[in-house]
């Protein structure tokens, strides 16, 4: 009996388990780790994954794609644009369904069959029965959608232990992998998928994660890059053969599949070929494209991605300067250009986690299921009642500090002890060495300020022809200065060069307990919340 984590996406589904303390992303019998979320019904057989996706060209109306976001949504509210070249959604009792070879099938049934296939693949791989799962969902899945998904998954024989948010799952995977859960940081988690993109600003405080803002788009994703490539190849084809590769659905789908492969290849190497037999009007198409050209072809999409990330930061009431790290997630985040353009809007001090920048990182498309697997193993021994109890609003809804709290250090700088957005109750301690007999400790709220440093441009040798006078660069950084003085304490007779501990504790009621301690010398006091 095993527990797995599943990331069920519109484009792909992946799943992982914990084996010998390590996360193991599972492949299906065809060796795919990113299983296409596609079902196809041809000649009485059910195809799944890549095999099903391959049927789009021959049997588009029998092949169901991009259905996850239809769960629990009334038919009139869905956007069926991304099913144009596959089975078309129809209304079935107000909800979404499909008519496949004359039979009507509800989207719930489609999801159920998909999850059953996933279950079978996982059991095949693990050689044991799957008992329960943790599933990831976008942060904007509503209660109805979540209830439906749980119901369907249970029906498929995958008992849902917990639904968790995609960005936090990805971040959990990343931080666990790097062993950085306890580093207080503000993250942007940007997930660029197939037909949608999602981003979240997440604060990580004492290992607890809180969403500060989210952003979603159904008009931004890998498919837009596929389309840009399709247009590019189609106009080349037109030039060469005077034939329209986009005229029939079949030729469009052929070119689409080929463009998708080319796009993925370009994430790894500089030049990729594209080749389609009998693309249109009997002409074969063969060509190649390099990465630079692709980046040019897709530049609109890349700049929208940057805009998208800027939006989520703004929504959190922050500037890109306030972001410590960016974690890229999703299939489209494999593209080097995504990481490269994003790095331009953040200061150099912001770390960007993407395979293009650090090749040792796991595939960004695995992060969601990796986090789910970690969570699944953490709660494996919890029973349903315990999980339900832990998810009560009274546990989840927590007060968060809105300004950092700390002390003035010996040089007069603000030293953060509790960062902004720390959830309480919390207790945190720092230590320093005294430099006099009596120690004065002043507790402050930190005041955000922007520090500007002017960096003179490097002098280039005058080999460069028209090297113009370089402007000096101004580097902006967020720093916190001592703001409102909250409390003072003095520890007498400590002795110079002694260790001093400062402890701040906030209890459930919001009362802040301050302690200064050095050996036997202890001073305590408390302050209240405004």
């Amino acid at each position: 009996m095993a527990t797995i984590g599943i990331a069920f996406g519109n484009s792909t589904t992946s799943f992982a388990t914990i084996k010998d303390g390590k996360v193991d992303v599972i492949a299906n019998p065809d060796g795919e780790r990113f299983i296409s979320s596609t079902l196809s019904y041809v000649d009485g057989d059910e195809y799944h994954g890549q095999q099903a996706l391959a049927q789009v060209i021959r049997s588009p109306r029998s092949t169901i794609v991009n259905f996850r976001d239809f769960i629990g949504v009334p038919f009139e509210e869905i956007n069926s644009e991304y099913s144009k070249y596959a089975a078309h959604p129809i209304e079935l009792n107000g909800k979404v369904g499909y008519e496949i070879n004359g039979n009507k099938i509800s989207v719930n049934e489609v999801v159920k069959r998909h999850l059953k296939q996933i279950k079978n693949a996982a059991e095949d791989y693990l050689g044991q029965e799957i008992e329960s799962v943790v599933l990831t969902v976008p942060t904007n899945f509503n209660e109805i959608q979540k209830c439906e998904l749980i119901k369907i998954s249970n029906d498929a024989g995958l008992k849902v232990k917990q639904l968790i948010n995609e960005p936090t799952s990805a971040l959990l995977a990343h931080l666990s992998n790097k062993n950085q859960l306890l580093e207080d940081k503000i993250y942007v988690v940007a997930d660029f998928g197939g037909i949608r993109s999602d981003a979240a600003v997440v604060s990580v405080r004492g290992g607890i994660m809180t969403l500060l803002s989210t952003e979603h788009s159904n008009k931004l994703g890998g498919i837009e890059l596929d389309e840009a490539l399709i247009d590019f190849f189609a106009s080349d084809f037109q030039k060469k053969f005077k034939a329209d590769a986009k005229k029939t659905e079949k030729s469009y789908s052929k070119l689409s599949a080929a463009s998708n492969i080319t796009k993925k290849t370009l994430s790894n190497i500089q030049t990729a070929n594209v080749s389609v037999d009998s693309l249109a009007e009997g002409f074969d198409y063969m060509s190649s494209i390099n990465r630079l050209r692709f980046e040019l072809v897709g530049r609109k999409v890349f700049s929208e991605m940057t805009q998208f990330v800027e939006n989520v930061v703004k929504k959190a009431g922050l500037e890109t300067l306030d972001i410590d790290s960016v974690l890229l997630v999703g299939g489209t985040s494999n593209i080097p250009k995504v990481a490269n353009t994003l790095s331009l809007i953040f200061p150099e001090s912001t770390e960007i986690f993407a395979p293009a920048i650090d090749s040792k990182l796991p595939n960004p498309n695995e992060l969601n299921c990796r986090g789910a697997a970690i969570q699944a193993s953490l709660i494996a021994n919890f029973d349903d009642e315990e999980i339900k109890e832990s998810l009560q609003p009274i546990i989840i809804n927590t007060e968060h500090l809105q300004v950092p709290i700390g002390i003035k250090d010996l040089d007069g700088n603000f030293l953060t002890i509790l960062s902004k957005e720390t959830a309480y109750p919390i207790k945190k301690q720092i230590s320093f060495e005294s430099n006099s007999d009596n120690v004065e400790i002043e507790f402050y709220e930190g005041k955000r300020s922007i520090k500007e440093t002017v960096v003179e441009p490097e002098q280039y040798s005058d080999e460069e022809e028209d090297s113009e006078e370089e402007e000096p660069e101004i580097i902006r950084e967020v720093e916190y200065l001592p703001g409102t003085l909250l409390a003072k304490m003095s520890l007498n007779g400590v002795g110079s060069g002694k260790n001093v501990d400062v402890i701040i504790q906030i209890d459930r009621e919001g009362k802040m307990h301050l302690t200064g301690r050095s050996g036997d010398v202890v001073v305590k006091g408390e302050i209240t919340q405004a």
């Binding site: 948010n165 290992g207 953490l378 927590t398 500090l401 809105q402 909250l486 003095s490 802040m512």
Partner: protein
Amino acid sequence: MSFTAVASYTAAAKRPIEPVGQYFLAHATRTLKGHTWSEFEKIEAEKNVVSVEEKDADEELFDEEINDPELLAHDPKDWKTCDLYAALGLSKLRVKATPSQIVKAHRKAVLQHHPDKKSSKGGSLDQDGFFKIIQKAFETLMDPAKRKQFDSVDDNADVAVPTGKITNNAEFYAAWGPVFESEARFSNKQPVPSLGDDNSTREEVELFYKFWNNFDSWRTFEWLDEDVPDDTSNRDHKRYIEKKNNNARKKKKTDDNKRLSDLVKRVQAEDPRIKKFKEDEKAEKARKKWEREAGARAAEEAAKAKAEAEAKAKAEAEAAAKNDKEAAKKAKEAAKNAKKKNKRAIRNSAKDNGYFGDEDKAAIIDLDLDALIDSFDDVKLGEVASKLKDVTGDDAKKVLNEVAAESKLSLKYFV
């Protein structure tokens, strides 16, 4: 040793934390350990949470607060007469509220009015009454049949029928449009055509009245039934009340149908577009008639024009003819004068030249000249006269001799 508190720290914000990872589980375990919460604490925990997802679109449609004192003080025993939508904060949505909106609104109302919360704030216990109404409202509105009954008599959803004088078209649409939009809720057939405005076509307006004159309403009046006693001992009384209720429902239904039909008739009579369509029709008729008569009018005009033209042409022709005649006459006279002049010139040519020294033969010469002149046609006259014009003496004689030779007349003097 000393501690001085100087200021309070900035107020915190309540946010949901992400229930994942070992540190969350530690937090949960810590919080749960040996702790039970009152209903009140649980409700408080759901309040004022800063959520990052876009504010629920539904929330915007709900009432901000449920705090109308009259509503809160409504006797729960009389809950049927209460505004059940307002009790859930749905006074803006009413019949349009979807079941999921009702569920959400109910949840919100419960958060605000749960008795646990009220008693903790020192409210009196009988404020439970309103909570009961909330629960009744929820039950009713979630049951489609019951909801239909309530919607049928929910006069808070009615729009007042205009009573004052309507002075212009815009006012007419503004006053009556909402009335029909509100009445539309009772229609079995959906969608219901709306009143429209000055830009509506005649077809649209006609369709509108056709629809409303044949209105098919689901309105029922069970909600206003008198309570049927459930005591079985007095069957007759029970049956009597039931019958009374049935009759009352029927009467109310008939009255309501009449009410609507009167309303439609009234509006139809006042509709400025109908007046306009009638006027248009009249104008159109007049125009058609005028058009029909246009043929005859045109023929008459053409005939008149033709006659005028003919008269004009005739006058012109006559004038031209007269001109021609005069010109001819003038030309003739001119020719005659020229002939006379030429004859005179020829005749005088001898005398003017002293008869060429043969004055004694003057009579013969004149006779010869007369014979010559007689033999000349007009052209020859002109020719000879012009030849003689610039010559004198013997030269003139020479000319005359030449002419005489040509003439082949037997002359006495000229040879």
